[in-house]
Symmetry: C2
Subunit: 295 residues, 2 copies
């Protein structure tokens, strides 16, 4: 049971955690803060939070648990502003999609309270955002990865793990660097690829007419290009080195496919396409993954 | 009403047309041919076809309408083998995803019967293939593009149009070259991008573990990488010039994103990602497209 939860950022990620814990009856009071007054009021009206705070200081000063669910580029500022107002027993955790950058920011901003911080990443979401996108089932049977570091307080880690389990998630621990590479491969790079395709088509004069002939394959492929631009700018810059490395590999793969098409090398294409098909068919036959739906 | 329909290739595309026309009571007899005896027997057992042919000659010799639904690399051979056995009034149409190559093959192989050929492309499908994947509703509210050329017999064009409408499709006509560019942009390039990503991840030693953390966004993005490798080899080689041109544009876009990430140019990323999001949100709010589902 959490007595007082503070949600910094009342959108899909923060709002859905609040709703899940409220529905389970495992939180007494939820205070929400957002830079946007409209978002605060919307979250209040939707019953996501019980009261709004006018400042970060006010939001966290009485909280037992603080969940920071803002775009990664805003995390350091949030940490700096809440640091002086955290009680010794207050736990802070976050939902950032790349962990090294958030950990660096927290270490710098929280100073001697850094041990109260538990880095986390709920691997769940949709391409929608804002309070109205939040729903209590978002985390059910989804994975939440925690990436504690040497300083992380062990009992804080246990409490954050419990909180996510109570919200319905399967909680795993992972090394920071490994997390950042895995997520770059399965989430960050695919977003860049989809944004790039749709962005390129959007620049065509005949975009509307072209997309009229796009069908389900394109729609699924490009769904993640509907994701929030600020959030994804921050992720790209925040997980720069892992993303750049994978992007290099990806481009080298594209080079080879391009060369094969140019040289009429059908065997190479069959080899690559077949390998991809087998990997995907095998891996996603796993029922375990069927209901996952991160953006 | 079609008296005798011959389906060359009894998989998802050919089989679904046969099932749709049968269900509508608009075909008297369907003969199916596949190189694979197992596929022929499966199609017969599933009621997709009424009888099987042992050869292409046998399949088409009594047909009024011939639908060629084989991978594009096999089309020329099929055209060559059926040409001597087509009656003057027999209409031939196809389901190839790139039209110029099929038209060139048909022109060469059909000779003075080329006017009996109506080039077509049903923009529908799933990532599955084979007779068991066929279903009668596949084409309902999906687009079928016909790309007639100067020689195409006008009444043959009308009959093919009617056939697809009877199968539930919305039929459009398009210039060959325009079709090939539009489909390269919305279908062929996305397939290459998805195959390349999944193929790259499949080569990692930690592939299984990495994909364990992949969620819905990745699954949707990569669904088209489950498509048939032979079919997509043929499309890549068959629509080479349009695909290579778009691939160049795509790579140049990736270059710019990579540079922006490297140089911490968040404004550029916001610009591209935001443009993509707006284009997709606007275009796919169109209810018209909601039920389309080509691979």
């Amino acid at each position: 049971m959490i007595k007082h939860l503070a949600i910094i950022g009342v959108g899909l990620i923060g709002g859905s955690l609040a709703l899940a814990l409220k529905k389970a009856g495992l939180v007494e009071q939820v205070t929400g803060y957002s830079r946007s007054q409209a978002a605060r009021e919307e979250a209040l009206a939707l019953g996501i939070i019980d009261n709004t705070a006018e400042s970060l200081a006010e939001a966290v000063s009485d909280a037992d648990m603080v969940f920071v669910a803002v775009p990664m580029g805003a995390m350091q500022t949030v940490f700096e502003q809440i640091a002086p107002h955290l009680k010794p027993q207050t736990i802070v955790t976050d939902g950032g999609s790349a962990k090294q950058q958030v950990i660096d920011a927290a270490r710098q901003a929280l100073g001697n309270k850094f041990d109260q911080f538990v880095p986390g990443h709920p691997i769940a979401g949709t391409e929608k955002s804002g309070p109205s996108a939040a729903f209590s089932e978002l985390y059910q049977q989804h994975r939440v990865v925690l990436t504690p570091v040497a300083e992380t307080n062990k009992s804080a880690l246990v409490r954050v793990r419990q909180m996510w389990q109570q919200a319905g998630a399967d909680v795993f621990e992972m090394e920071v660097e490994h997390h950042d590479v895995v997520l770059a491969a399965t989430s960050h790079l695919p977003h860049v690829l989809a944004f790039n395709l749709v962005g390129m088509l959007a620049q065509r004069e005949d975009c509307d007419e072209v997309l009229r002939y796009a069908a389900g394959g394109f729609r699924d492929f490009s769904r993640i290009a509907s994701s929030d631009a600020v959030m994804w700018r921050d992720i790209c810059l925040g997980n720069r080195s892992a993303i750049l490395e994978l992007l290099q590999q990806y481009r080298s793969g594209l080079d080879k496919i391009e060369q094969a098409i140019r040289q009429d090398d059908g065997d190479y294409l069959i080899d690559i396409f077949g390998r991809a098909k087998r990997a995907r068919d095998t891996r996603f036959a796993d029922p375990d993954l069927k209901d996952n739906s991160e953006v």
